[in-house]
Every structure is written in structure tokens, then in C-alpha cells.
Symmetry: C2
Subunit: 250 residues, 2 copies
């Protein structure tokens, strides 16, 4: 299908839409992005799509959305699943798509959804200030117990040499799961710089931090990150920095 | 591939593994299930798989796992994505797989992950008693604001008649997303019976509650639910009932 890929998302934060941008940027394909609109116009576009009847697809609960011709789909890992094979970023062996999708889902669970919930443990419908005490408690627990568990898992995946000695999650085969993990590590570092520095300095997760650097250095990604298409983290996105939450493990 | 499908999961609760059982039961295919083991043996089997090197696949973070020959994959929506097309339960039109996957992911987000977090808003690594006050606050907010938003979304999907007048999420085409939504509604009803009764009585979500009944009445599902393969909900699973949390909207 020769239709362009169109990302429908908010403007002004990387957010969940960033995973979609990264796969398209890595592949070097042109795409449309509501990010080129003003803040209000992008928000209105998202709202209009969510309120609509799906235009031949089931209605959507939340952005990002990907439009490709008549197909419009939601859910970040689902959009990546659709794009991955088309862009040559979903592995090289039979059934790799399911291996890559599992890795992407696991990265989003632990280092995106869980990190989001550190600043909104009670409800996303109230501001942080109204759940500050719970947020501090959840952040402390997360840094102490979940972050090491999650980083240790990714180190273990990267130490597994059944698919070659690395540096990627599927050994020598670069896939979109590497892009997802990169963005998750990058956002978590914005939210918890002290804990991420502490974790890095233990040396126990060297392959994980190396993957973060290696993705950043890929030519198309490096060019993208240096461009004005890369949005800055803001404290209304998935990843937020609050000094109160920025603790280290004991 | 003629290898059997093997579900690797804990014994004693429906849990996330239940979504895998339901798709296999609906399709009427034989499968192996670690549920046939004792509680301790099943837990040990899960632990052994998680600690291993992936046996030709990347290591896994959490169960359920599906083994099919040499392929072993994790992540509930990923397992369903793998099984759906093989079992004829992933839609009838081009790209329906991505529509079905989006619906399944959205059901799991709102009516499984969010419901889980009502009893563990601070961390899954501490017992409920240690986060009881936060759990009560989150449950109250969830019942008041999230449950109506989520049920209204599913009602809107079911009112969308672009694919026929129903009764399924893709109109007249039954898919595994219907099974996922059924199990999510069923588990949420166990956790929050008062709020679900209240929501039902408003009449605003009649198509959602009808889907729950319609799935329950499908011959293979009805036989499964009446069998001893269907586990009871227990208060150590994804769905837990606490009287303190079982509130109604104001």
C-alpha cells in the first residue's frame, strides 16, 4: 500500500507516540505526524478521532493512533507490530515477530506503564499534588525493588547468546524491541536520574546501558534525536520528574 | 505444526492464563496445561522456565507462557495474537488481526491491569494489608471515574454497526477479543460486585453486559465453565475481592 503512514498523537511531549516515531525514523520512511500542528490543534485532532465511529474500524480508547490508508489502529505495541515486518525490523527467523512483540510488551509494562504509575498511583484523573504522598511511597518502592528486577531481566536477555553475542535483544539482529527498550530507558532516566545513575554505577547492568548508547548512536536515530522533531520530556507526559520521587535504593 | 499447545502457568486461580485457556476451549483444540499439576509443582515449573535461558527464545519476565514445539512465548496478548489466526478467531477481513489485538490490549489495560492495581496501588511486592488505605482510595476513584469511562467505551464499540448489528465487538464476527472482554468483565465482577451491579442497573451498558452473557452461553465456553478446569477466583490472583474496596459510585 502506497498510502503514507500518519501518526495521530498529542504535540509537546514524546509520550507513547514516541515509539511510533522511532521505528519510522530508524527505517527512514516519510510519515505525517500531528506533532506538526499546534498544541491545541493536535489535541483537537486526537479528540475528534477518539469521538468518531472508527471510520471502518472499531472506535479507539486512547492515542497514539496510526492511519495507513483506510486502516486506523490504536495501542502502541499493536502499531509497532503492524509496522515492524513492513519496515524490516521484526526479526529474521520464523516466529520472531512473537519474540519481538513479547519483548516490546515487557519493556512497556515495566519501564513505561509502571513508571507512569509512580507519579499517578491513585488515578490518572487527579493531579500529582493530590496523590503526592502515595506517589512518593510508590516511587521509593519502585526504585528499591522493581527497577533492579527489571534491569536484571534485560541484562539477562542481553547476556543470552543463543542468537549471537549481541549487542541487541535478539543477538546480532536489530529489531524494534531495541528501539522500545531504548525509549523506555531514556524516559526512566528522565524520571529517576539518581536511581538510574546508581544502577549504572553498580556495573551489573552494563549491557543494558550499552544498548541505550548503541541505539542512540545509530545514524538515523542520532539525526532524529538532534532534530526539532524530538520533543522534550515535560511534566505532563508519561515520564515526569519530581524531586520528591527522585530517590536512590538503600 | 502438529505439536500440542502447552500452557505454562500457576495452578489455583484463573489469572492471566485464563485468556489462553478460553481461546483454546472455544476452538475445541486439545492442549496441555500445567494446571493439571499440584500447586507447588506448577509454581516450580513456572519458576524453572523463567530462570532458564529461553531454550532458543529470549528469556521471559513473567507467565503465562505458551509452548508450541520449539517456540515458547510470553505475554498474554502476544500468545493470543499467535493463536488467534491459527484457531480462526482473529477476524475475517484484511488487517482484522490488528483491530482484534487493539481491542484485546484495551480490555486488558482497563479491566485487568487497572483492576489489579486497585488492590496493589503501591507495589505488587507487598501484601494488600500494607497498602490498604491507598487501595481503598484507588478503588473508590476507579469505581467512581474509570469504570463508567471504560464501560461506556465498550458500549460504544458494540453500538458501532459498521460490521453488522452485533452482538460481537466486530459486529457479526466473533473473535478472541470477545473472549478477553468476557473474562475481564467476569473478573471485575468478582472484585467489584456492587459497582458492577450498579452499572448494569443504569441500563447504559446493556450491550456490554449482554456480551458477557452471550460469551458465557457459547457451547464450548459453557461446557468449560461448568468443568473442573475452570478455576475459582482467589484472593491472591489478578482479581481479588476485598469488602473494603467493594464500593459503589456516588
Amino acid at each position: 500500500m502506497s498510502a503514507p503512514y500518519e501518526l495521530i498523537y498529542y504535540t509537546g511531549v514524546p509520550g507513547r507516540g514516541e515509539h511510533v516515531r522511532l521505528i519510522l525514523e530508524e527505517a527512514g520512511v516519510p510519515y505525517k505526524d500531528t506533532q506538526s500542528l499546534s498544541f491545541d490543534e493536535a489535541r483537537e485532532t486526537v479528540t475528534t478521532w477518539l469521538a468518531g465511529d472508527g471510520h471502518g474500524n472499531p472506535p479507539y480508547f486512547a492515542p497514539p493512533l496510526l492511519k495507513h490508508g483506510d486502516l486506523v489502529i490504536s495501542q502502541t505495541p499493536n502499531i509497532l507490530l503492524y509496522l515492524g515486518p513492513k519496515l524490516g525490523l521484526a526479526g529474521s527467523r520464523e516466529n520472531d515477530l512473537y519474540r519481538v512483540n513479547a519483548l516490546a510488551l515487557t519493556a512497556l509494562d515495566g519501564l513505561s506503564n509502571e513508571v507512569h504509575d509512580t507519579h499517578h498511583p491513585i488515578t490518572a484523573m487527579l493531579p500529582w499534588e493530590d496523590q503526592k504522598e502515595e506517589s512518593k511511597r510508590r516511587s521509593k518502592e519502585w526504585v528499591q525493588n522493581r527497577l533492579p528486577t527489571i534491569l536484571a531481566y534485560w541484562q539477562r536477555v542481553l547476556e543470552n547468546e543463543e542468537r549471537g553475542p549481541g549487542p541487541w535483544l535478539l543477538g546480532d539482529t536489530f529489531t524494534y524491541a531495541d528501539l522500545v527498550l531504548f525509549q523506555c530507558l531514556d524516559g526512566t532516566h528522565y524520571a529517576f536520574p539518581k536511581a538510574m545513575k546508581q544502577a549504572r554505577e553498580t556495573g551489573k547492568y552494563d549491557k543494558v546501558f550499552k544498548l541505550w548508547e548503541d541505539v542512540k548512536a545509530r545514524p538515523n536515530i542520532a539525526a532524529y534525536l538532534a532534530s526539532d522533531r524530538r520533543q522534550k520530556y515535560q511534566d505532563w507526559g508519561v515520564y515526569r520528574h519530581y524531586d520528591d520521587n527522585d530517590v536512590v535504593a538503600e
